[in-house]
Symmetry: C2
Subunit: 93 residues, 2 copies
């Protein structure tokens, strides 16, 4: 039985390799407003703080803001995604 | 040989099903600055236009800005991701 399984693994490997294509498009938004066609967020400049972190990993519980969840995603699969930071220029003095 | 392959398919299916988990973490940044640990982008408010579209699908050729590539990603896999829009408040009159 173990031998059959082993032979079968080799037999079907090319089929499954298709699914292992690292560039295959897969959904990565699992939870955020899945009821809408496209998740846009519109933010007024006037509502920004000195430094605002926006999520681009689709895992934040504080969407559209970054809560650090990108670290768990990156660790789980070896990715390197992180946030967009919008900052107001430093006032001198 | 076909029979062995079939049996093998059933034998390894539970193993491969793991990879079919729709919520499994997979890398979705394939091309953007893969040489850095985390892709942050820092934008000064002063450099924003009236309306600036920032990419959150990791497919834009104009990164960190949106170029509409999220549509192809969404179509390819049934996702619903889209950009972050930062806008300056409309001036009246
Ligand atoms: S939590 Fe998503 S980019 Fe930080
Ligand atoms: S091109 Fe990536 S969100 Fe539009």
């Amino acid at each position: 039985s173990a031998a059959v399984g082993g032979a079968g693994y080799l037999a079907v490997k090319p089929y499954y390799d298709k699914y292992a294509d690292p560039k295959k498009e897969v959904c990565f938004n699992h939870d955020i407003r899945k009821d809408v066609e496209k998740v846009y967020d519109i933010i007024d400049v006037e509502d920004l703080g000195e430094k605002t972190n926006f999520c681009r990993c689709w895992r934040s519980k504080k969407w559209p803001f970054c809560d650090g969840s990108h670290n768990a995603h990156n660790k789980a699969c070896g990715d390197n995604v992180a946030s967009l930071i919008i900052q107001k220029k430093q006032t001198s003095g």
